[in-house]
């Protein structure tokens, strides 16, 4: 299997641990990955108003690059890129006039876009194309006795039309964690918004949400939280500093990308996990379980 991969902005810097671990895990699964050539920023959020076609150019241009790479499907790991690319694609697929206008605006592109690229999140590929049974066979270091709460947030599951799982009760990441030998922990705040980009102008709102989300996971028995979005990761991990300032009794909890735990279970070397890029150090809990 060969995948064309769209990294997006943050996997190349703050979320390097997401990219490195994801690519290593895919290599262990025998999947060939090719980074999309000349990719551009997707815009990070889908434009919600009806007349704002110009903001769909960035994601659609990414899909043109995908066609030029000889593929009709594109894989993302970042939940926000996934959401923006897939929604822009669905938007213009349902509106022939908008598609034609966008192609006219991008008249210098040699390739026309015709709505013919599919956007897939890595979790969907793991479940539907590689298969959890096949992944289970490749696990060399089962994540035994590790209680993992999967936090889905918004962009993987909402809106319903593009979500990869049930918007109210998603399971896909929990199924992956069980496949890797961990104990999945269900918790009521798994799809509660972390306040996303409010982290720039109002970190206090994010700290309050982080307090609720992490405490909810802890009360359900979690030892770590896993995420699929670099913005959720920043808010739930780095903003634990502000959370502790606001609520002095708050207890820290490590936040990891699902790919880091997949890479660990599949036998990737520790340097591929980039555990140094976390605010709350995940090494003590992983060491206590004999995993690193």
């Amino acid at each position: 299997m060969k995948l064309i991969y769209y990294p997006g902005c943050t996997l190349k810097n703050q979320a390097k641990n997401f990219e490195d671990s994801g690519l290593c895990a895919l290599e262990k699964m025998g999947v060939e990955v090719q980074e999309l050539a000349k990719w551009n920023c997707c815009g990070t959020v889908f434009s919600l108003v009806t007349d704002d076609l110009i903001h769909h150019i960035a994601p659609i241009r990414v899909l043109i690059r995908t066609k030029e790479a000889g593929s009709n499907s594109l894989m993302t790991m970042c939940a926000m890129c996934f959401n923006t690319l897939k929604r822009a694609n669905e938007r213009i697929k349902a509106d022939a006039e908008a598609l034609s206008t966008l192609n006219e605006l991008m008249y210098e592109e040699e390739t026309k876009y015709e709505g013919d690229v599919e956007i897939l999140h890595l979790l969907e590929i793991l479940k539907n194309q590689i298969g959890f049974d096949s992944i289970r066979e490749k696990v060399t270091k089962p994540l035994q006795n590790l209680n993992v709460a999967s936090y889905y947030g918004c962009y993987l599951v909402r809106p319903r039309e593009i979500g990869i799982d049930d918007p109210e009760n998603p399971q896909i990441m929990d199924e992956l964690m069980a496949t890797l030998g961990a104990t999945p922990i269900d918790f009521p705040y798994k799809t509660e918004c972390c306040a996303a980009y409010k982290t720039v102008d109002n970190p206090q709102i994010v700290a309050e949400r982080t307090y609720q989300i992490i405490n909810s996971a802890r009360e359900a028995g979690a030892e770590v939280v896993v995420v699929s979005c670099p913005l959720c990761a920043f808010n739930l991990d780095s903003r634990q500093k502000e959370t502790r300032q606001l609520f002095p009794e708050f207890q820290h909890m490590p936040v990891l990308y699902f790919t880091q735990l997949a890479a660990l279970a599949l036998g990737c070397p520790e340097e591929k996990l980039r555990l140094d890029l976390h605010y709350i150090d995940p090494k003590p809990i992983l060491k206590s379980k004999g995993l690193i």
């Binding site: 810097n13 703050q14 959020v45 919600l48 108003v49 007349d51 903001h55 970042c78 709102i205």
Partner: protein
Amino acid sequence: MRINISRKNINDSFVAKIQELSGQNLLACYQCGKCSAGCPAVSDMDLLPNQIIRYAQLGLKDELLHSKSIWVCASCMTCNVRCPRGIKIAEVIEAIRQILLRKRADHLPLEDLSPEVKCQVPPIALISSFRKFTS
């Protein structure tokens, strides 16, 4: 709080503009309140999501354009997924933000951000907040 309801406000082009930009039929809302019940941001809002829809139906322009809520909503889509009338509340709130932003009324002036903040937060946070809060 006293609210004046008038035919003039209801027929104002502001209401039509919200419907056009959001692509939503505001009158489909029957005020069940499910959007506000599930909204994670209500504790920081002055107008609740169901009130935003009601105010929009009534053309209460000043109240909506000056509300704190439109800048607190992070478009998490929980309301949209749960609305029994299929109204996309997040799109309505985006339309109100856009009416202001298209007049260059930026909510987040770039020059107000300290170098520390710009270095600390990931690019995904900066780009998305500029997309949502600047013109």
